[in-house]
């Protein structure tokens, strides 16, 4: 995890955040399940935050947060908020922070194999299969009130799963996406409740 907080912004009582996926890329976007994981995890447990439902926000702000129309920078956001009907609606939702998720979980390597057979005497499998997944995500936080980027958190989690088979397959599954969700959630909670900037991570890619 590489958090980088540029501002002193914190989420106040009654203020909400919304988690959105960046969708302008043609070959990847943060999975719907991952967006849901982050949204749900931020809304529960210690330090839970008020999270606005993603689909509700996109519907209430339609057509301004669709893949082709969503603001790509805080300058775009500023221009969008100049529309009185948009500003009014944003205020109505109570959302102060937008968390943009970019990235995906991809299979980067795999190998081995398992063979299974069945006969009159019985059935079974033999072999070894493995695969490696890489979950890489950026979470960029925008402060709508100040129309500025509050910072970025970068997560990169690799996991190798192995499945040996001796008569029956024995799966040892790594879940890098779930680990990335947990890590990002923890960092986002700290990010939005810590009053000071911190970290020396990479410059935010967006905004």
């Amino acid at each position: 995890m590489e958090p980088y907080k540029e501002t002193d912004a914190v989420i106040g009582k009654g203020e909400q955040l919304v988690v959105l996926a960046r969708k302008q890329h043609s070959n990847h976007e943060a999975e719907e399940g991952f967006v849901d994981c982050i949204s749900e995890a931020l809304a529960r447990g210690d330090g839970r935050l008020e999270v606005h439902a993603t689909k509700e926000f996109e519907d209430s702000m339609y057509p301004w947060f669709e893949p082709s129309t969503a603001p790509l920078s805080t300058d775009d956001l500023s221009r969008l908020l100049e529309r009185p009907e948009v500003m009014q609606q944003v205020r109505k939702t109570g959302v102060r922070y937008v968390v943009w998720l970019d990235g995906s979980t991809d299979r980067v390597a795999s190998g081995g194999g398992i063979t299974c057979a069945a006969g009159i005497g019985g059935a079974g499998c033999m072999g070894l299969a493995w695969w490696e997944d890489d979950a890489r995500y950026d979470a960029t936080v925008w402060d709508i009130n100040k129309v500025e980027s509050a910072g970025t958190i970068h997560a990169d989690v690799k996991g190798r799963s192995v499945m040996p088979a001796i008569i029956i397959p024995l799966p040892f599954i790594a879940r890098p996406q779930a680990a990335a969700c947990r890590g990002l959630t923890q960092q986002l909670k700290q990010f939005l409740t810590s009053p000071h900037g911190y970290g020396s991570g990479p410059e935010p890619g967006i905004g």
């Binding site: 999975e31 209430s60 057509p63």
Partner: protein, 221 residues
Amino acid sequence: MPPQSRLRPALHWLALATGTLLAACSSSVIVESKFPSPLVEALPVKMGILIPEELYNYIYTEEIRDESLWTIALGDANVAMFKPLFAKMFQETHNVDSVPLADRGSLDGVLKPTIEKFEFDIPVNEKNKFVEVWIQYQLTLFEPDGNTVVAWPVSGYGKHELGHSKEDAVQRAAITAMREVGAAIATKFAQQPQVKNWLAEKQHGSTTGVGVATAKSEIVN
């Protein structure tokens, strides 16, 4: 047991097996969704909305090699998308059946959407994990007397990760593509040069005619 009674159970099993086999060879999707109203300022015109029969009943079919016969019904979704969109885009909207209008003073213009193209793609290997849909509509704006102001092609692209159900992924990608079309219409319709001129004339109460033109295609990716 008479011979016909012995045959009946066998025929039932044959019908069931045939139905199962046919179902396995075809995929059908009925695109259904509630589309939101756009957050835009209404244009100060009274618009007639002409939705042709073929839009209400639009069904796309394609046989994909090594796959199956796909049937995708968009009709209800088309209407569900356009009605709230136009209702918010214009000061007043009224459904009309044809142009030219019988009462040419009652409305400022007539808008007719038609669907020109539908394409979709399902990934065949592990490298690509998205189902993709492209839809192109044509939005034609008419004067009340039937003259065409502009015929504007507008497209939308949608993708959705391929999960357990290909049909579900196609439906969601189609909904995204339709939302994109709605977004393009809501945000760019009034910016088309012919539409800008037409709006200016309506606001100034001019009776000068506007020549027929085809607007530059808007591809939304």
